[in-house]
């Protein structure tokens, strides 16, 4: 038992509660909001160490043994996801200090951000399928309002789509949970992993797996279930876009990885073939969507979809290399994608728009920003020696190793198209000439670190770019832990034993 496992859940709750109690004071909001993220990160680091040293950690909440109570399980996958979400949380909280206005603060931006992280962390930690549903809902409601906070027309339009489709997806998830319970009488995922193979009607288990595929697929924004994402992610303030674009869909991916390695492994020939198809289409359709748009954040949104495909691809291979690649891809993508969103925000501050065709001159006037963009964009496109390179390399290698040639070729081509649309941004916003009309007065005159508070936005971006570089140049540690995570996933008996005790 490791009592610390609950900290990533309760720290955000405590922080949110405090922030709510002090909601009248903007200063308190900010302090509580950022300090909370620091504490959260610290707690995750402690946990990470435990898992790295001692293997999978378990906490039986309420002191009720599994499968009767709710179990929190920290395996390496959970730790990696927790780690990246804590890092992004801190980054976003700092960025928000400037990006988020007083009005939004007054209406609970920081508590909502923390509750969002709480839902995300709970999803990563829980070992109970119904509890996962609950955390999904916590995450959803927080994301709903973060998306709509501000009530601009675009936000409302985007939020409506996001909300209705995600509500439907949650209900589908709940139905899937109900069916699982009806088949096995249990909700504990380790227990489910033990009991599902004993279900007489194997085809029924596979059928239920499809419900989960669709439901999580909606959250993860896979083809053809992703429509809500590009319709909404570009509408809120950038800090929110960034955490959505970086983190939220990955929770869906996490859930897919979890259930398709732990629970639904009885008919891999069928389920994982479907995953491969899904992966291919998701990549292609997403990247084509990006190619057809000229709004900074919309392009990024469509790329989220596209890159989910790579993660699903790694999962579909069901090999250590594939899963390692998928997990690494998730981590890398969160860094790169969030950072691009954050950069779009700075660009918008400078140029007053997100529309590429009205942007230009950033390379000329803000070379440092250009470097930061380059790092993130080329990382996204999988260029060495950046984080994305390792992600792409492992996934491609995994694909070739299982002789999935068509899918791997698709992945490679999509990589090129990703590069294409990243360069579309570069060629217009950065290399393009400064537009003649509509450019704010301050463009080119203020420095990133000079007047104003822009540095509050730039420093987090630098930090993430630094991480991208670090992960790229010194990939070994992260790849190793991703491998540990992948091996744990491929060997569920360790997980089951950790939760239910020696069998």
């Amino acid at each position: 038992m490791n009592g610390f496992l609950v900290f990533p859940i309760i720290i955000p709750l405590i922080v949110a509660t405090l922030a709510l109690l002090f909601r009248k004071s903007s200063v308190m909001q900010r302090w509580i909001g950022v300090t909370g993220m620091v504490i959260l990160l610290a707690s995750v680091i402690v946990l990470f160490r435990d898992v790295y040293v001692d293997g999978i950690q378990v906490l039986q909440l309420g002191d009720w043994d599994a499968p009767f109570g709710i179990t929190l399980v920290g395996d390496m996958l959970s730790m990696l996801m927790l780690g990246i979400s804590a890092v992004m949380g801190l980054i976003i909280a700092v960025y928000s200090l400037y990006d988020i206005d007083k009005e939004r603060e007054r209406f609970g931006y920081y508590p909502l951000l923390h509750i969002l992280l709480m839902g995300v962390n709970g999803s990563f930690l829980t070992g109970d399928i119904f509890n996962l549903y609950v955390w999904f809902e916590v995450m959803l409601i927080a994301s709903f309002i973060l998306l709509a906070l501000g009530n601009s027309k675009n936000q409302l339009q985007g939020a409506l789509k996001y909300v209705i489709i995600n509500l439907f997806s949650s209900l589908l998830f709940l139905f899937g949970v109900a069916l699982l319970y009806g088949m096995t009488g249990t909700l504990n995922m380790a227990d489910l992993a033990q009991r599902l193979p004993e279900v007489e009607n194997v085809g029924l288990v596979t059928t239920v797996s499809m419900i989960f595929l669709v439901s999580f697929g909606i959250k993860a924004a896979i083809f053809p279930l992703f429509f809500w994402l590009p319709a909404s992610y570009h509408t809120p303030p950038v800090a929110i876009s960034a955490i959505f674009g970086g983190l939220l869909t990955k929770v869906g991916v996490y859930a897919l990885i979890r259930v398709f390695t732990l629970l639904f492994t009885q008919d891999i020939g069928y389920t994982h073939t479907i995953l491969m198809w899904v992966a291919g289409f998701t990549m292609v359709i997403g990247v084509l969507g990006a190619a057809s748009h000229y709004e900074f954040r919309k392009i990024l949104s469509f790329h989220i979809v596209s890159q989910i495909g790579y993660m699903i691809m790694g999962l579909a291979f069901n090999t250590a290399l594939g899963l390692m690649g998928a997990i690494f891809y998730v981590l890398h993508n969160i860094l790169a994608k969030s950072n691009l969103f954050l950069i779009s925000g700075i660009a918008q501050r400078l140029l007053g728009t997100f529309e590429l065709k009205q942007m230009g001159g950033l390379y000329k006037h803000y070379p440092f920003l250009a470097v930061l963009f380059m790092i993130s964009a080329f990382a996204l496109a999988g260029f060495p020696p950046l984080s994305g390179f390792w992600a792409k390399l492992t996934v491609v290698k995994a694909g070739l190793a299982v002789e999935a040639y068509v899918l791997t070729a698709t992945a490679i081509l999509v990589g090129l198209l990703t590069l294409f649309s990243m360069m579309k941004i570069w060629l217009t916003a950065f290399w393009g000439t400064v537009p003649e009309k509509g450019v704010p007065e301050h463009f080119g005159k203020i420095a990133l670190f000079g007047a104003g508070n822009l540095y509050i936005m730039v420093v987090p971006v630098m930090a993430v770019a630094g991480l991208i570089l670090l992960v790229g140049l010194y990939a070994q540690p992260l790849l190793e832990v991703c491998l540990i995570a992948a091996e744990q996933l491929l060997n569920p008996s360790v997980y089951i034993e950790a939760v239910l005790g020696p069998q």
Binding site: A148, L167, E295
Partner: protein
């Protein structure tokens, strides 16, 4: 095995799905309410039912009277109902606010996001606040 409840659940689900696909947001939300109800009923049914004793322990006893109704699905549904209620309240408020800002509840007009349908440039700076930089 109870036969009638799965059919009822299916019927409610079907009605919910139909409403979900209506153009009016309000109907869509009513559809969500119905689907939510049907899934709860499904969960209830899947916990296996028959006309049994409630899962309450009488004073002076340490066990409920057997056979007792399965309490776990009840607790789960209770959780789901409350969650659903919270989300529904949000969806309603969102529909209301959207109506106020956008002037309609018809998604055919209201949600037809011009950016979704074309690659044309739409200037949407309206969600970005101008601060002194």
């Amino acid at each position: 095995m109870d036969t009638i409840l799965p059919i009822i659940a299916g019927a409610i689900f079907a009605s919910g799905i139909y409403l979900l696909l209506r153009p009016s947001l309000i109907l869509t939300i009513i559809g969500i309410i119905l689907i939510s109800n049907s899934v709860n009923l499904a969960l209830f049914t899947l916990g296996r039912i028959s006309t049994e004793n409630p899962p309450l322990i009488a004073a002076g006893s340490v066990m409920p009277e057997v056979p007792f109704a399965n309490p776990l699905p009840q607790a789960l549904i209770l959780t789901a109902i409350v969650i659903g209620f919270g989300l529904l309240a949000f969806a309603l408020a969102l529909a209301y606010r959207s109506y106020k800002e956008l002037g309609t509840v018809d998604q055919d007009q209201l949600l037809k996001d011009p950016e979704d349908t074309s690659t044309a440039i739409v200037n949407n700076t309206d969600n970005t606040e101008k601060r002194d930089v």
